[in-house]
Amino acid sequence: MTVGIEHYITVSILLFSLGLLGVIVRRNLLVIYMGLELMLNAANLALVAFSRFNNDLDGQVFVFFIITVAAAEVAVGLALIVALYRKRRTAHVEDLTLMKL
């Protein structure tokens, strides 16, 4: 059986869900953040695959944007986590429940 677009998308979906699962079940902010990166990467994979099989480059350009944005987001996010850690000495989400209800 030849590997087609479905295979790539299946991998992409599974990777996406792994990332999502990470966000949901992990409690360390950094790991949660890694989960988010996984989700973005899953999207990247899907885009590249589609780009290939749709035979145009738009998808790849989009991936380029996503990677850049992800980098920017990571930078801001990590800075934020660091600032928080300095203040609160924790990266556990369960410790971040000042505001609720």
């Binding site: 790539y8 599974l14 145009d56 350009v61």
Partner: protein, 169 residues
């Protein structure tokens, strides 16, 4: 009779997912460093898949930017904060189950959708993700988003400086 690219797809695909799984749920270690390392591996495997898809430039970018820059940033922060291994606290299995159920739902629906409406693909994909056409597209049709991305990076820069500056005031 499987061809080489197909075999490679299975190899990289498996690697991607397995490493991805270990990022998220490593049964042996909850240390963020481990997660980060497996994330690097995931990204690398993804780059492999990109190559299989003839997206050579992106594969390079993936390695350089992601594995190189972003993940280094992650590790740097982990080291900087000297984070201990994650939760010593009780793992709430109920929580995990709930999470798995909802995620599983999404996966199930997505896969079913995929199965029901398989995307039509060209039989002979001829696209080459090389630098020149990509660059041309980026600086013509996609010029505006590209410029906005630069703005975004500026914002991120300002933000990072503001958030991590040691002295207040």
């Amino acid at each position: 009779m499987a061809q080489l690219p197909d075999i490679l797809f299975y190899v990289f695909g498996f690697l991607t997912l397995a490493c991805g799984f270990l990022v998220v749920l490593n049964p042996f270690s909850t240390n963020p460093v481990t997660s980060a390392m497996f994330l690097v591996l995931t990204i690398a495997s993804l780059a492999g898949l990109f190559v299989l898809l003839h997206a050579f430039f992106l594969a390079a970018v993936q390695i350089l930017v992601y594995a190189g820059a972003v993940m280094v940033l992650f590790l740097f922060v982990i080291m900087l904060l000297d984070l201990p291994a994650e939760e010593k606290r009780k793992v709430r299995t109920a929580w995990v189950i709930l999470g798995v159920i909802s995620v599983g739902g999404i996966v199930a629906i997505s896969l079913r959708a995929l199965a029901q409406s398989a995307p039509v693909s060209e039989q002979t994909p001829a696209l080459e993700g090389s630098t020149i056409p990509l660059g041309r597209l980026l600086f013509t049709q996609y010029l505006l988003p590209f410029e906005i991305i630069s703005l975004l990076l500026l914002v991120a820069m300002v933000g990072v400086i503001l958030l991590s500056k040691k002295d207040l005031k």
